[in-house]
Symmetry: C2
Subunit: 321 residues, 2 copies
Amino acid sequence: VDTIDFFTPIEGQLSSVEHMMRAQAEDRQIDLSNALDHLLSAGGKRIRPAITLLVGGLLAGDQNKLITLAAAIELLHTATLVHDDLIDGSLLRRGNATINSQWTPAATVLTGDFIFARAAKLAAKTDSVAVMQLFAETLAIIVNGEIIQLFDRQVQPGLDGYKNRIYAKTASLFELCTAASALLCPVNNQVIESMHWFGRNLGMAFQIVDDVLDYTGESSQVGKPVGSDLRQGIITLPAILYQIENPADPAMLDVISGNDLSDSRFDQLIEHIKDSGAIEKCYEIANEYIKASQQSIMGFPESTYKRSLLEILAYIIRRRV
Amino acid sequence: VDTIDFFTPIEGQLSSVEHMMRAQAEDRQIDLSNALDHLLSAGGKRIRPAITLLVGGLLAGDQNKLITLAAAIELLHTATLVHDDLIDGSLLRRGNATINSQWTPAATVLTGDFIFARAAKLAAKTDSVAVMQLFAETLAIIVNGEIIQLFDRQVQPGLDGYKNRIYAKTASLFELCTAASALLCPVNNQVIESMHWFGRNLGMAFQIVDDVLDYTGESSQVGKPVGSDLRQGIITLPAILYQIENPADPAMLDVISGNDLSDSRFDQLIEHIKDSGAIEKCYEIANEYIKASQQSIMGFPESTYKRSLLEILAYIIRRRV
């Protein structure tokens, strides 16, 4: 799937989003400005701004406000990544050096804070109390999720815990994209509610596929070793489903207890998980979320926006990186 | 001056602010909840919430919104302190252990982020777009100031640089207290503009006195050695005024160049600054800000709120801690 396909109806606006994000540090301290450039140049596929703009197009919202919202959300996402990488001690993200690999913790914290502040300023520029409230609520959900993960690392989640975790980590931000976008459009509460679920279900599927790719992806493409989550003691859906079917596997029990495993035991456990049918079951669950997400927009008349949103749903399941 | 005096007209509301702040982590992760309790128990005189509520009383604003705003601002202040202490590596604040002295950088960053998020949520609860915009703008000013200080540590500010720095660090938040409070009250733009200047000038004086107390305070009361700013290479108003009068003092030039000084040379330089008349000049400048601040509220009819605000202005100059 070529990601450029679903960007077509909003290419112009996406350029404006890009420009607006980069403008946030232009008149600022030069190291900071360079850091923001580095972060944004390295930065992903802009799937969050794209979804924000496409929902806004579907619901005929004000272009300028939607562009501002999309920039605010992508900056919020960028800020959380800067602090995340510091927290995890990650040196690379998508093959690029992280801020914390090059700067002190002090500079990294402040860079993240600066990007948060600019994201909040842009969110405030939408002039919508409801958007700002949702923005603040989403930040609280994301940070709360990270705190639970950091402090309660030993408490391994079952299925429900996993769902809560990926909602906080990923789906809440996609929900912000779609619901805040709807809040800027001339639509009723029922449509806004549908858009909440559209983004939330899409985000749940997105993170499940992400967690599967950690097992199945080419390590050269994903940029980290196969099974890196499990090797760090992070138990995601493939391992949870494997554990349900194989409750007595001693290697899995050791991981759950936080015991150290040799590399070869990890290699073997990861192979067992991949061969167990857990990956296929993960895709079934992701597909259920995608179907629920499709339902939220099926009722709208055909348009390039709707087509692109459906293409994004298909892309989320099929992507290999 | 007994600080309790000026709290009298708003004692009940201050209790509500305290309660609201502590409630922000009640249903959350237990370590986080304890950390917030620790921070708030250790925390200061609540002068920012007091000023917010007193201005709101003076201008007859809605009580519930003012309480929410005051809690949001004090939490924003608390969050910046958590990240500041991490950045400076401070182990104590007001004689209490800092979060970063007890936790990892990761946990400290997230605790600050969590408090930011809750502050933003409360700010959004005021239902005022203008308040939220000012809130976001203030966060951006504070963080930008910290970034300049961190990255451009070698660039020593003259008087203008100093004023920019203390505006970003301190006065901008006092300006938020008074201006956002006015935005929640039934007043015209001229009053809102006056309240901007009231808080800004008050905050400038507050920080100048703070910087003087670093030279003149009892180290047991201030909680750090006399002249600790200068010993860390931070050149505040007393040293700036001294340098203007004594441009060739070699010890001062060494500090400006970032050279290491022995403790005894520092001791001597600090004594020279204290004996130079610079401290008295600092108080004159602080007094000018206080007078400008008084002017902003002199026109209002007498009330307990006005009296308390004038007492706070007097307290800011006279305080010894």
